[in-house]
Symmetry: C2
Subunit: 207 residues, 2 copies
Amino acid sequence: MEAVLSRKEQIERTATALFKTKGFSATSMRDLANALGIEAASIYSHIKSKEEILQRVCFRMAQEFFDALDTAESINGTATERLQRAIAAHVQVLTKNTAASAVFLHEWRHLSEPYLTEYLSLRDRYEGRFREVIREGISNGEFSVPDEKFATLMIFSGLNWIHTWYKPDGKMNPEEIAENLSAMLLTGLNNTQHNTSVNPIHLNTPN
Amino acid sequence: MEAVLSRKEQIERTATALFKTKGFSATSMRDLANALGIEAASIYSHIKSKEEILQRVCFRMAQEFFDALDTAESINGTATERLQRAIAAHVQVLTKNTAASAVFLHEWRHLSEPYLTEYLSLRDRYEGRFREVIREGISNGEFSVPDEKFATLMIFSGLNWIHTWYKPDGKMNPEEIAENLSAMLLTGLNNTQHNTSVNPIHLNTPN
DNA sequence: CCTACCGATCGGTAGG
DNA sequence: CCTACCGATCGGTAGG
């Protein structure tokens, strides 16, 4: 886990943490330099601009979400199973780097064009794939829900709220979070009761 | 609805819209002045500082949320009914002013002390009251959920995601959003199936 | 509500 | 990676 980071990676990681805590706009290049122990001007040997850091974080995270979803969807199954896997994949990416996730979720609006438009379209495509699974589940009778779009919204709300409370040393690990989330979401979605197969997990305390 | 606004209210409302779109830090007093059609210096005849506007918005919204919850909880009933009413109250406040809600939910971190601490403690108390209803529902058997804290988190995630997609002229009005949200959340919470009593509502299209 | 202005800080560059 | 510095802009004040 403690791999050697290039200076550029160090800058990106430190900036991400600052962007998360203070926000992109309120973080100055001098704040960043200070956290790195160098002068502000020196940062520019490694990156072109402050916004470039934000771009890299946002699009790297987008890539990670897509990759995880691709892997999750490469396995066949019922709509329920596929949704569960998609949720688990999303939670994994989210919890693996909470700072980058927070930046991805909240600081993207400081992207300038054409990055902003591209970011928005990536998000749309990603959400569309979840909506597709739900649509299938509705049409084959697995899910019973008044509005497919609303259901997708609910899933993403639960998913993207995680970074606000998740602590790596908390009582739930990412797998348990995903299972609990799926359980809570699916029992609301499921028409017939395979509640027992969704098994919400109880707490083990690792610390 | 189109009441006469004092200059101070005008400033607050315009600032709120800008804070929502650009964020607190990225909004300058010159941006605000420009939107109002006056000079930046003139704003200071009405307010003491940029942060004062943020403080007013955050604590006014906190007050509105508490007032709505007080009213909702003044009516007795089962835990299910009380949770439904609390959710509806929250949705009402949220949708009544989406800009102020967005600022309340995302810009509070730019509050300085002691306001930050007070804000955080207000939120904690508010969430605690939802947690209390859930706790009661669990202990009297209405709800079946592995973790009370997790359930509360899920409710707030669904609740506080609304402002990102809610459109006043969309196909769901606040009451319908609340009912759909309750339905989706409660059927996940409910042990016995009073699904039919929760009645998720279908779309009427006002526009 | 304006003009005129303040010191501080911003993102970023030149040149080594 | 640093020193030295740039023009622009920041939140805010004085005085009317």
